[in-house]
Every structure is written in structure tokens, then in C-alpha cells.
Symmetry: D3
Subunit: 161 residues, 6 copies
Amino acid sequence: MVNGLTHFDEKGASRMVDVGDKHVTKRVAVAHAKVKMKPETLTAILDKEISKGDVLEVARVAGIMGAKQTSTLIPMCHTLNLTAVKIDYTNNGIDCVELFSEVQTYGKTGVEMEALTASSICALTIYDMCKSIDRNIVISEVHLLKKSGGKSGDFTFIKEG
Amino acid sequence: MVNGLTHFDEKGASRMVDVGDKHVTKRVAVAHAKVKMKPETLTAILDKEISKGDVLEVARVAGIMGAKQTSTLIPMCHTLNLTAVKIDYTNNGIDCVELFSEVQTYGKTGVEMEALTASSICALTIYDMCKSIDRNIVISEVHLLKKSGGKSGDFTFIKEG
Amino acid sequence: MVNGLTHFDEKGASRMVDVGDKHVTKRVAVAHAKVKMKPETLTAILDKEISKGDVLEVARVAGIMGAKQTSTLIPMCHTLNLTAVKIDYTNNGIDCVELFSEVQTYGKTGVEMEALTASSICALTIYDMCKSIDRNIVISEVHLLKKSGGKSGDFTFIKEG
Amino acid sequence: MVNGLTHFDEKGASRMVDVGDKHVTKRVAVAHAKVKMKPETLTAILDKEISKGDVLEVARVAGIMGAKQTSTLIPMCHTLNLTAVKIDYTNNGIDCVELFSEVQTYGKTGVEMEALTASSICALTIYDMCKSIDRNIVISEVHLLKKSGGKSGDFTFIKEG
Amino acid sequence: MVNGLTHFDEKGASRMVDVGDKHVTKRVAVAHAKVKMKPETLTAILDKEISKGDVLEVARVAGIMGAKQTSTLIPMCHTLNLTAVKIDYTNNGIDCVELFSEVQTYGKTGVEMEALTASSICALTIYDMCKSIDRNIVISEVHLLKKSGGKSGDFTFIKEG
Amino acid sequence: MVNGLTHFDEKGASRMVDVGDKHVTKRVAVAHAKVKMKPETLTAILDKEISKGDVLEVARVAGIMGAKQTSTLIPMCHTLNLTAVKIDYTNNGIDCVELFSEVQTYGKTGVEMEALTASSICALTIYDMCKSIDRNIVISEVHLLKKSGGKSGDFTFIKEG
């Protein structure tokens, strides 16, 4: 691994990285995503007088369930027993929903991919629930926000300015 | 559905929309995603002298397999038999990979979510394969690029100016 | 099959029944389930002032997603593309939630098991969401309510007197 | 959580409950289900001269496999590594099969839902295997029978009088 | 595709082959596998006086369920609705079980991989059920035996002399 | 279990064996498989001038992902958190690819079935990727090569002959 891509061996073969010797520690990761839509789409989501159905709660359920499917979706991801998953929303009151997925485990490797998968599936579900009124929805800023635990230490995303 | 959110009934209950009366037609959708990374990360991906392993091919396999999991991930999505899936890449030679997932079916409803899921899982896998050297990767511009087939007709994404 | 158990051949081997020669027709099935709980549990579910969270909507999402997993759970079930799934609730205002799962397909075999699986997973999720306050919840009256389509014709459940 | 529904936060958002601080202990749960059918259906199941195939063994395999799918089916369930699963049957010799699913883990949270899911999938499979001769089968008395391990202590179901 | 490997495009990218223009026809495939074991292992499997449990029936259920998972396991496989699956056994009375998995669909592409996957999962399950008494079990002769339907026509395996 | 088939109880009922009292130790297993094909098929796989696509890398990804699905495929297998998976290839330069899947866990039971499943899914994927040019491919010599860890101790396969 002269280049640091640990998911390949020295001959270029992909592999699930050996984490057997790592310590079992508490590991937490938070991932972000932003869903941009038409103003009337956000209104339909937020104003229960109009929509009645709860788009964000359905999407939250999908995101939490998606976190548990991470190792079946991402080829080299380890299987982990998650000890907590939650997804919080904010919105700008105009045309954007932002979501923050926090995942926790006690294991030998981190849960960055679980948090990112939760955010992606949650955002895709918002898209699906609203696509009958808005096909121009755009998902962006899907990235790790912070993580803690493990040998590589803490990480906080620094937005490029 | 006064507000057009077809995934809820008039009382606000979520549901898998009834597409029983729709026609079986050829339906195609293409979804986009952009993966922004450090320049040295793109170099590691593209220069096989350095990395040997094929990040983009592993991610492509994940995206194609992800397309087939769409209805298990997105709560209200219909199950469909996909007749073709492919993922193409471009890169800007500096710090970005762009990906285009095309999905086809002959069915009663479209494959927008399948294309979007393929793009998301593919992008997440690029993230996973490179996160040992770059934790600041950002996935953005995840959106439907175009679709054809079905009663709602053709659609092409128009980038906001 | 002297005894009519079509899921076994004449030597007693289990099998997925050959439905290749059946016609593709519209098939609908509705399945029932009843969830009995303590009165204060029903109050917690129904009174949003108290619970805020929406137990029944989370359970509905689980039931709809469960319907799509039927063929992976029930060994001899055929894989089918469902064209509609919905779940309705009633309650007796005292201590019972009843649920009705309706599933539709256009295929060569019926969706009884999909409707029953939706009802079962939905009921189990109500149990899970409430078990922190009530471990004595009982699920009962899980049965097919009615079905239509296919050679065997229509069926309506007759409650035993 | 003024109301004790731990699967929602104070704003009513669903979540996978944080069990990170709980202790890893041996946890066992047993769940019951009853499958009521026509007398001739029970005869067909029990008399191998008639049916040859083994309905109850196929259903048992489905139930054991179902236990392992619990966290993919029930939205807020934790993923757990099960260390034992077994399903026992009794029958009344007339028209009822009763089943008892016992699940064990060493983990930070209990396996009630795993035992209940095993019983439900097992019962649904009995239904599926027999529906060609009996569409009036009813599944009832699906409930937790007992559990041990964990801070909340032992539990035994008390049948309502 | 100068070399005929249809699962790659002209640039070497993997893809799910476009079968959209193919005809929906009845397609059947039969796949073989052989499981070689110690003579006392075969005795334990066949003599119900000794083992009581039914290894071959559990393995058959696993194989049938495995056929339905083919498109989630084999990256470029199409999703198909199977209309029949069965698995037959023979044994040589000494140290071998042979198994024959037959899969049928009405679709745009064949079910060779579904039959082969059924045989493989069935054989692996025999292995698993017997590994406590025999770790030297060998699975061999996993191959397509015959197929019919589709443009490429019928095929029968010819054993090399 | 007079006959040593631990996956059945004394009445012949299948079960997931109770491993609760076993120790958590490092456990490693390596499984073999051989894929025999026409000489021109091996040439197409190995000579990137001809095929461009990377059959063996796609198959490797499938095998690694397959290892993680073992407990959903093999009925009585325990769920385990794998800490490493890798697949190596050799070929005879004529008509055979051999593959070696190594799986590691820290758990209460071994990973023989995970290694064997990885090898089987990997071999089946090679079959799938090449079946457009060679339908006579045969998978053989699928067996455990060696294992270590756990009370039953080390094991090395001894080729008969």
C-alpha cells in the first residue's frame, strides 16, 4: 500500500481490511446531507395542513434502516453491531432540508460509512416521496461531519471556503 | 392528494402508490453524482502505477448491485425487474469524478430511484475505498439527469443558472 | 399430492410450486391482524400530546417494506412485483389496534402471503415501538380477510361463530 | 420521553435507542404463537403417511432464518449476533399447532423481537405450506412468553383471565 | 466485445447486459452438484434411525431460497420472477450425494445462474449440517446440466471423456 | 446427538447450535475452489488486451460480499462480525483458475461456512461473467483448506488419493 489505499493489497486486489488487531472502543460518526428543492416542495413537506403525511419521518425510518444495510451495500465494509442511530433535520425555511445522521458502535472499526449511508438513503427517500411534485430535487454536501473513537482519532469536517 | 404527494393518501398515511392500471412500457432513467476529493486522491484513483487496485470498477459493481436493492431501501418503491444497468465515469483531471447511472426496465413505473440509488451507492463506495487517504470527500449534485417512458413523459434536468 | 399440499411433490420433497402455466391477472389480497395492549399503551399511541412520535406510521412503513420481503422470508413463496401496498388501521378506543394490509399484483400467483407478512411485520413493529411500556402485548387474528383474482377465485374469511 | 416510548426522542423523532452504555450479558427470550386450522389440515401435517412432506420442519427452518432477519424487518431493532435459536412445537391433536421460539444472545440488548419474529415467520410458513387446502388458518397468541438477562430483569407472560 | 464477454463494454466496464429487446419466453435450467463425504456421513444422512433430522430437506429449503437470492449475490445477474424451483437428490449408497436444481421463469433472460446458485447453496448447507462429523466434505461437478428457451437455444452439458 | 450431527436435537429438529458458552477467540478459515474452463476462456480472462474487463476483480468483490451474506443463506449459520476477508487467485496457464478465500473473525464460532460461501459465490460469478463464451465451465474442489481457532483446534485438508 505505497499509496495508502488500504482496501487493496500490494498487487491491487480488493479486500476487506484486516481489523482483527484493533481495539474495541466506542466509535461515533455524524454525516451530513443537504436536499435542495422547490420552495413549494418544502412547504408541502413542512405544512401538515397541506400534506398530512410525514415525509421526514418516513425518510428517517428509511435512513435508520439503511444504516443497518451498509455492509451489504458497500463491498469492503465490515459488519458491525450498531448501538445507536439517529437522524436530525434542519431546514432553511425556503428550499432546503439538511440532515445529520449519527451512528454509534462499540467495535474494532468506525461507522463513517454507516452514517453516510443513513444520510444518503434518507435523502433519497425524501426525493422519492416528493418526486411526484418536484423532479429537480438535488442532493448535495454528502460528507462526514465528525467522528470520534479509534486509533485515527477525532475528525471534524472543515468546509472549504 | 390535494398537494400532489402521491405517496400519501388523503388521511396522510404512507402507501406504495397503485400503479396497477399503468401500461408496461420501456422506461429509462439516468442519474448523476459528483465526487469531489483532494487532487492526490484522484491521482491515486487514476494512476494504476500508484494504486494498482481499481477503485472505480469496485464502485461500479457496488452501484449496479445497489440498483437492484432499491426497493428494499426506499420504503415506497415498487419492485421491478431491471433489464439493463450501466455506470459511466468522467473526471476533470484535477479533483472530481462524475458518474452517470443508466437503468432500464419494461414495467408499470419508472426507474428514477433505481438510477439515483445506483449513483449514490457507487459514490459512497468511492468514498469508502479512498477514506484511508481522504476523509474530506464530498458527494454532490446527486440528481435525475433524464428519463423517458411512461405517461409523465420525458424529463431532462435543467441546471439552475 | 394425494393430500393437496401442493408445496410437496409425491415423494414429500418441498418445492416452489410450478405456476408457469397460470395466467397473468390482477390479484388482490387483504390480511388482518389485531394488536391487544394495555389501555394506557393505546392512549400513548393515539394521543400525540403524550407521545409525539407516530408509532402507527413507523409500523406502516415497516409493514409495507415487509410485504416486499415476503419471498425472502417464506421459503416456497414466489417472487412477485407488487403494484400497490397499503395498510389501514382502526382501533376500539380502549385497548386494541386492528390493521388491514392490502396488496396487489399483476402476476401468475396470488399475494396472500405478502398481505399476511405485511400485517405480521406491521404488528411486530407496533410491539417493538411500545415494548418499553408494555411487554404483554398480544398479536392475534392474523388471517386472510379476502382475496380476488386467479383461477381459485374470490375468497372471504368467515369468522367462526 | 415523558411517556416512556423510548423509540422516540423528546421531539417525537423515531430513533434506534442508544444501548451503548448497557452491559454485555446473556439474554434469552421465548415467544409463543398458535396456528389454528381445520382438523383435516392438522391431520395432513402430522400424518406422514398422508402428506410425506414435513411442513413443520420447513416452517422451523424459515423461523430460524427469520430470527436472523429481525433487524432488517423491524425498523428500530438493533443488530445482534445470535448465539442460539430453536423452535419447538406442540399440538392439541385436534386443530392447533403451538410454537415456542427461543433465542439467545450475549449482547447489550435483548432478543424479544428476534423470538417474536421467529414465531411469526414460522407460523406464516405453516400457513403458506397449507393454504392450498385451508385458507381459514388463523395465527393468534403471538406474544413474549418469558425473557431473562439485562437490567430490566426477568419477565414471564401472565395470561389474562 | 471483440472477445464475447458480454458483461463488459468496449472499454472494459462491467455492466448488467441490456436484455430489453429480448422476448419473454419460458426458460428452464437444470444445474448439477456433487457432494462427496465419508461413508459414515452418508449413513448418518440417510438412516433416519441414526440421525432423525432431515439434512437433505433443510438443504433443499436453503437451495430454493438461495435461487431467489441469485441477483443479490451475482453482481451482473438480472432480477427475475421465478415460476418454479425444485431440487432432486440421488446418492450412490456409498459416499456421494448428487443434486439437481431445476429453475423456471417466463422472462427476457435465462435462469442458469439461479439453478447454479440453488445447487451451490444446497450443497453448502449439506456441508454445514454435517461438518460436526466430517470436515473433509468436497463439493464438485457444479455445472449447468441443460437449459431451454431463449434465442441461444437448448444446451446439454457433455461430460469430458 | 448420538450421531454427532449437532444441528439437530435429540428429536431430529433442526436448530442453530447453542454456542453461548464458547470463548471469543480469533478464528480463521481458508476455503478453496477450482474453476475449469476452455483454454480460450482463460485467455480471455487473463489477457487484458483481449477482454479489457476484469473478470477476476468483479468475482472477488462478489465473493467478499457473499461472505457477509453467509448467515442469511445457510439456515443454521450464526451471524458473525467478520474482521477480514480476502480472496487470492492462481491459474495453471491452461484452463483452470483456483481461488482461496480467507475469512477471519473474533467470535464464539468459526468461519468455515463464510470462507466456503465466499469461494462458491466468487466461482459462480466467474461462471456468470464468462458464460456468454463458455457454458461448460465446471466448479469443483470446493472444500475447507484449513482453519484455526476454537476448541476443535486446527484443521488442514488432506487431499485424497
